[in-house]
Symmetry: C2
Subunit: 351 residues, 2 copies
């Protein structure tokens, strides 16, 4: 496997100039697709899986998306290489762990388009962009999807829609999700109310690293749960025009409340977070995420100066275990990583 | 009341060059005395109390101790003035709170000798010095005590010794105590073992501010509990040659263990403490004590550079509520103090 993952510079979703970028880190559209005429993965043989991989490799490369598609055969990838891909949000943990023929193909260097091959469905296609950009993401993924469909043919039922391994994906097979930074709601204690409201609307709320991950760094991924019975346009419209703007408004209000009424507490929290990042000699990944989150809030509210948002975004990724080891060029155990992570965050002023 | 308490520069026990000064902050000898022929305080009238005060004021001034004796009438002192005296370890909380005629006289500017008048006994005489210096303290307080006794006459029983309000003080009336900084034993988790050993030896272990106060800042005051049946020399000898050297040895071992085997954890703790002191925007008194304690350990073990021990010692006193308000020259509520305290600790590098 080549190593195009040694840098994070090109990654589109790490940009900080996206729409509503002070709150929305990234927008993602994901499609679940299966190739017509081949068995679903629950019944697929090793040969069927390899067949899927050959088809996808060939035809995804041919699709015109404006960027080169890099291919990663996950069977032959090392554990650390697979972990890097998880940390970059290019594959799921499940896809990293499997031991059957499976792959990832991803557009380089921006990593906007990624296709997991032989995960739960033959194809899990995702398009991820910085800021609130679901419509753009949808347009881009739709073009790729159409081109690929015209080449390989998808399992489709006239009344049900696209057929998928899990019934929750049947229909449009679309999942949209938005990664939000909600430190204001966390500090004002309103985050649980927001979570309950989201669940009441059948939305899933997860952390930075998907299902089961805690919301480290006050990062919340909100996504739709079902795709049946709604058109892609309805799902997208609802997200981009109503649900996400509501959350953004709540978070903005929370931040204003903090500035207006609890400024001393706010300043204390964010400055202490900066101090801890600069002075800690041991840091675990979750704490680093949390401190970076608070520093990010401080920068956005003008309480911290001299730190830029891009640096924070990159550190949130580069302080993850696999990236950290890539950065220092060594395999490290957990204790060594805590040390290396503390060394890696910006050196203290004058130090 | 004049304000000789606006500075801490002269205070002898804040010096950092005392014997075993890396662990022993200060040594204190205290005598409980009552004037012969006057009723004990439980039965004393207001006039009796005033009589005690006149006698002590007159004769303590006449005693030759090499420093001027300053007189503080606590009835007329403001609450903040009394709090200042408590924070400087010159009077007890009980003495600060009383509402009957009572006073303090203290040698200035070093504040080594202090006499509480009409606390629990007519006289509570203390001598406090930096480092491990019980013998010196004993010699000094003894000279003063002899001179005062020759002038006012003490209640004394040929077989029982000096008579005191509380039976635990009858006999020599001597209490010796040593203020120790034990962050090593705290970090290695051995402090509770040390506390239990001290209690088994009938020693009292208290915090920086005496009975009932938690050991903020890893500062432990060890003192004898009973004075009956032992001579002053025995009590002193036991403390200075055996008990305290044992504790010092344990603490040194703990610090060496931290340096040798847990250096990353040690560095992390003390550097984070420094970071928090520099970056916090709100600080309560206990946290300030704790952070200063850890920074002190870091300085002593060579893990932190550029901070001097004297600054730390002064900050431990000046960040106390009454001193802090004296420093900023304003009466502040608790929230305002947290802000002012964070402002007061050294400004961040380059800030």
């Amino acid at each position: 496997m080549s190593d195009p993952m040694s840098t994070v510079e090109g990654v589109q979703w790490l940009r900080t100039d996206g729409r509503e970028g002070d709150i929305v880190l990234s927008s993602r559209v994901r499609l679940a697709r299966n190739i017509a005429g081949l068995p679903f993965l629950t019944r697929a043989t090793i040969d069927d899986r390899r067949h899927v991989m050959r088809l996808v490799r060939k035809h995804s490369r041919a699709a015109e998306i404006g960027e080169a598609m890099e291919w990663f055969d996950l069977e032959s990838a090392s554990r650390s290489e697979r972990e890097i891909l998880v940390e970059r949000h290019l594959i799921s943990r499940q896809h990293a762990k499997g031991d059957e023929p499976r792959a990832l193909t991803v557009s380089m260097p921006e990593e906007q388009l990624a296709v997991m091959v032989n995960e739960e469905d033959h194809l899990r296609i995702q398009l991820i962009r910085s800021g609130l950009a679901l419509t753009d993401a949808w347009d881009q993924i739709n073009r790729f999807d159409d081109q690929l469909e015209s080449r390989v043919g998808y399992a489709f039922h006239p009344r049900m829609g696209y057929l998928t391994a899990c019934p929750t994906n049947v229909g449009t097979g679309v999942r949209v999700s938005v990664m939000l930074h909600l430190p204001g709601l966390k500090l004002t204690g309103e985050i649980d109310k927001a979570r309950r409201a989201a669940k009441a609307m059948s939305l899933a709320v997860r952390g930075f690293y998907g299902e089961g991950s805690e919301a480290a760094g006050d990062l919340y991924q909100i996504s739709n749960q079902t795709t049946l019975g709604k058109s892609e346009e309805q799902i997208l419209e609802e997200f981009e025009r109503s649900i996400i703007p509501d959350v953004i408004r709540f978070e903005r209000q929370a931040r204003e409340t903090l500035l207006d009424r609890r400024r001393p507490m706010l300043e204390d929290r964010v400055q202490r977070a900066l101090g801890a990042l600069l002075y800690a000699r041991l840091l675990n990944a979750d704490e680093a995420m949390q401190l970076l989150s608070q520093v990010r809030l401080g920068v956005l509210l003008g309480v911290i100066e001299g730190v830029d948002l891009r640096t924070i975004a990159e550190l949130q990724l580069l302080t993850q275990p696999a990236h950290l080891q890539r950065v220092v060029g060594e395999t490290l155990d957990q204790a060594q990583r805590r040390r290396a992570r503390a060394d890696f965050v910006p050196p203290r002023p004058g130090g």
